[in-house]
């Protein structure tokens, strides 16, 4: 057992950057904030890579399987004996993988932002927020305690809120940030109650103890939680589904996905970091972290599977109709996370059947690179044309060669064309789905083709299509913007070859995988066909897409309005909750509850008004009462009470 305590530096460095820039940034570091933030992240990334090397290749493996190490644990808040919130660091394959992903992508985004956000008034604040987010996300992935997860979960939520609302003078940005926070908060409610149930029955909040207690069928905790039930489902199912709701909220799964497209109001590098590579996969990570418990309950796993698959399909369909480049990417993110979710859903804990788990993590890993690359490219494009709309772009390949190549690489990767990274991970997911559930496999296959189609629709519309309206008055961006694109593109090509199945699996033991060419034929073939269709339709400007849209008529409109989900939510909040719950309560409070108090007061006033006439203010009147009283008393004393 070797010492991993230095890992605590990985989250603490961004935290230090946040505190420093947050407190003093506006005054002292208006220019140097970017450098400070980037340096902190660079150090974090290096330490994370060192840790990954140490864990995966030096001493993580014991008896052929990777085991879990608790590097550090401190009781942060004790509730009652055994139940406490602990702060700590857990080292196991997925947390180490996430460490690398989060710190690396965050570093790329920090670097890219040096050029992208240059000259912003609140430059230091921006970097402070980035630091806060990175700290929270790293804290989340290192959690040893389920409440620690929840705590950092909320913190990433709020940093996402702050960053989406970064352009706080724009009403749409403010609305989007509120929406993102409130929708995820609503989901967190489920998570919280799930935690309460799990904590109550297992008598602990510590993840590894919890897993230990709830995965052995004979343990009293397991018997208690499975026998207790509510509305026909066991407490375990309820707890897991509620926890999954929390994950679904963060990971933008149907029907809690509505915040993600709007979240694109934030600065584009932020979208790359938070809403593509890291925070949105927190839900997947959460399910993976508790996977041994999930694998004990089929109902919960089915919920995960079907919600994931449906979200993947729905998002892909919507993405085909969107015209805002970032929104297309947002829906593609949602679709890819759907993949990861159902891959977890079709998995089992042990051995060969744990393929889905491995595939999901693998896809999470590769997706982080190519999706952040896509967003950063989009950022570079938006930086040039100052618009998010596809119609304002076109023919940019000559103006921005680096961005062009990088974007193409990322598109090929997400479409799953070999030998780019996405191909390997998607292949494993499809295989896992094929082995477990043919319906899911069909959905996944169709979604894969759709993905290729809309990504290349985007690619051709931006870089080909019409001739560029922009002449080279602008440059492609600063060096600090190009370097991350190049690095990420290189990763996108390379990471697929990492022997992931040997490193990250559900039970820690290595898994044998191989690429089966016959199996790959269908998805790759479909993908290529979809790319060709996209090229045919969008490479040159022609009326084709419009014609297809017209022929679909109402369906197209419904899809392009995202199935009216936003309108439904607005209807529920604006037309039901506010006028039918909020207003009446406020009215009742002012008129009935307070009315009772006021009525009490006015009754008192009325009574006193009735008797105040006796106090005429005339002294002689009072004297008369007095004498009358004395006389009366005299008579009483003399004649009555002798």
């Amino acid at each position: 057992m070797s010492d991993y305590a230095y890992i605590v530096l990985i989250p603490l460095l961004p935290l230090a950057s946040f505190v420093l820039l947050g407190l003093f940034g506006r005054k002292y570091f208006t220019k140097s904030a970017g450098i400070i933030g980037t340096m902190a992240l660079l150090a974090s990334t290096i330490i994370a890579l060192m840790a990954a090397h140490q864990y995966f290749f030096v001493d993580g493996k014991v008896a052929g399987a990777y085991h879990q190490v608790i590097a550090f644990k401190y009781t942060w808040l004790a509730f009652s004996p055994g139940v406490s919130i602990d702060m700590g660091i857990v080292i196991d394959p997925i947390s180490v993988m996430m460490l690398v992903v989060v710190s690396f992508v965050s570093l790329m985004v920090h670097m890219f932002s040096l050029g992208y956000m240059k000259g912003e008034e609140r430059f230091a604040t921006y970097y402070a927020y980035l630091g806060l987010f990175t700290f929270s996300m790293l804290g989340l992935v290192l959690s040893v305690n389920i409440f620690q997860v929840y705590l950092f979960w909320e913190l990433v939520g709020v940093s996402s809120f702050l960053l989406i609302g970064y352009y706080y003078e724009k009403p749409t940005a403010v609305a989007a940030s509120k929406k993102a926070f409130i929708v995820t908060r609503f989901a967190d409610l489920g998570f919280l109650i799930g935690i309460l149930i799990l904590g109550f029955y297992s008598g602990t909040l510590d993840i590894s103890t919890l897993i230990h207690k709830l995965t052995s069928v004979q343990s009293p905790e397991y018997i208690a939680i499975t026998t207790a039930g509510f509305l026909g489902a066991s407490a375990l199912t309820w707890a897991l589904v509620l926890v999954f709701i929390g994950g679904a909220g963060k990971s933008a799964m149907f029907p809690l996905h509505i915040w993600l497209p709007d979240a694109m109001e934030g600065p584009t590098p932020v979208s790359a970091l938070i809403h593509a590579a890291t925070m949105v996969v927190a839900g997947v990570y959460l399910v993976a972290r508790l996977f041994p418990v999930f694998s004990m309950d089929d109902t919960a796993l089915h919920v995960v599977t079907y919600v994931g698959a449906f979200s993947a399909l729905l998002a892909a369909v919507i993405a085909c109709t969107q015209t805002d480049i970032k929104r297309v990417l947002a829906f593609s993110t949602m679709s890819q996370i759907g993949y990861m979710m159902f891959a977890l859903g079709v998995s089992k804990q042990v051995g060969e059947q744990g393929l889905g788990y491995m595939a999901s993590m693998f896809h999470l890993f590769t997706h982080a690179f190519f999706k952040s690359l896509l967003f950063l490219c989009a950022g570079a494009v938006i930086h040039l044309v100052h618009s998010n709309e596809i119609k304002d772009m076109g023919g940019l390949r000559k103006l921005m060669p680096v961005t062009h190549i990088a974007f193409l690489v990322a598109c090929l990767a997400i479409a799953g064309v070999p030998p780019f990274a996405g191909f390997f991970s998607k292949e494993e997911i499809l295989l896992a789905a094929f082995n477990e559930n043919k319906l899911i496999y069909a959905v996944a296959l169709f979604t894969a083709a759709l993905t290729a189609f809309y990504m290349f629709r985007l690619y051709f519309s931006i870089f080909w299509s019409k001739e560029s309206a922009h002449h080279d008055t602008h440059h492609e961006g600063t060096v600090s913007m190009k370097i991350p694109l190049i690095i990420l593109a290189a990763c996108t090509i390379g990471v697929g070859f990492i022997p992931f199945a040997k490193l990250v699996t559900a039970d820690g033991a290595a898994l044998e995988t191989h690429i089966d060419i016959l199996f790959s034929l269908a998805p790759v073939g479909l993908t290529l066909i979809a790319i060709l269709i996209a090229a045919r339709l969008y490479k040159q400007q022609n009326g084709g897409p419009q014609k297809i849209a017209d022929s679909l008529g109402g369906f197209y409109r419904v899809v392009s309005r995202k199935f009216y989900m936003d309108e439904l939510y607005l209807f529920i909040t604006k037309k039901i909750i506010f006028p039918l719950i909020g207003k009446p309560i406020a009215w009742i409070d002012r008129n009935i509850v307070d009315g009772c108090m006021n009525a009490l007061a006015s009754i008192t006033v009325k009574i006193s008004g009735g008797i105040k006439g006796m106090q005429s203010g005339k002294v002689q009147g009072y004297a008369l009462y007095f004498f009358g009283g004395v006389t009366l008393l005299a008579i009483l004393f003399i004649y009555v009470w002798k």
């Binding site: 942060w76 609302g165 509120k178 926070f181 908060r185 309460l196 406020a586 108090m597």
Partner: protein, 494 residues
Amino acid sequence: MNLSLLILFPLVTAIILLFCNGLKQVRMVALAGAGLQLILAIFLLVAFLQDRSMGNQLTMLFEYDFVWFKNLPIHYHIGVDGISIAMILLTSCIVFAGILISWTMEKLSKEFFFLLVLLSMGAYGFFISLDLFTLFFFLEIAVIPKFLLIGVWGSGKKEYSAMKLALMLMAGSALVFVGLLGVYYQTGSFDMMKIAQMNIPLDTQYFFFPFVFLGFGIFAALFPFHTWVPDGHASAPTAASMFLAGISMKLGGYGCLRVATFLMPAAAHYYSPIIIVLATIAIIYGAFATMMQTDLKYINAYSSVSHCGFVILGIGMLTQTSIKGAVLQMVSHGLMTALFFAAIGMIYTRTHTRMVAQLGGLLKVMPFISTVFVIAGLCSLGLPGFSGFVAEMTVFMGSWQNPGGLYRLATILSCASIVVTAVYILRATGKTIMGPLDGAYSKLGDALWNEKLAAGLLITGIVLIGVAPFLINQLIGPGTAAMMEQIGKTINLK
């Protein structure tokens, strides 16, 4: 450590204030007095922790007993445990911040600061009293100044609000007094520590518990007796709002816990379903009512109703964790709501409006005040890193340990309120702090040194509890444990 100093310092400060002239002299004296209180409170904390670490396991430390009135056994009996220390620290922080916030109070400044200091004396006395009569005495001292503070220095329909507040709180103290007398005639003693050992007969408990609990409940904004809160806060000057929400409402919560529940546990157990229902209604209903408010002070006042519901909920659940959560929530809410009112006051003195619709984009001209506002808001919606999270989660965890169906439902509904809280806090923040800036406000300045110091002090408290809850847990954990042990002797609770 002589606890009477806590009463003596404000008293001396108040007397010196009477001989001062002019705003400058007055505020210096008041600030010096408040500073001394703060130092004393911190010193008390250190002394307390030292005594505890030396192994002093008495329930109450620094006790002092003096026969005040012989014929009735009224004693001036004082002493502290961790819970009272937390409340004393809270009070001293808020007094200090409140005096800094009223730095430029031109109107009748001597009288204003005199009343503030008098109020703080009442609060300190209340928190250290172990004798029911002395406790009641200080409770009354803490009520009267509020009437004047709102009636004279307030805004809006201040006479109405002052009258409403004073009358409702007086009604509360009248109920409390009836209950206290009932307890006295049953036990022949006013001494809380003795009464707690005595086991009051059940029918007496059942009869007098509602008086005491409701009476203190009115102070703690228990539904449906919370209506003094919105009007009172909205009309009060900033410092008085801070005192009112930060200290006065805590007198109620502390009384519900220390007097009602601690002395009559069997009745607390018996009535707990009713308490829980009222608390849950207050939480949910307060949150929804907040959502519809348009005045910043009303927003915070209604949200106080909702948050104080957690205190009552924690007490009503009667588990050790939930009671600890209730105490934490008192401290947390006191700091947070004082901070919120301070931020609202700062905005109001500059823009002369508190209506959400008329504000917008203030972050651009007053970054510091806006940050304070956002921090207070985030603490209110229970963000980790701030005290609100720690307190609310402790209440939730504690409530969930009580496994009745009704209790479960109440816990789930209370948890749901955090979503509604997020809605109203973000609406308020989105409309006042963010969004486009109104041209009329483009010349306004940011916070001054006194405002920064006040906000800084409160934020320090909030963040300290939020980041290192194990510290305050050390302080109040043993206190609640001792209390629960006492309660548990009387009734068999799991």
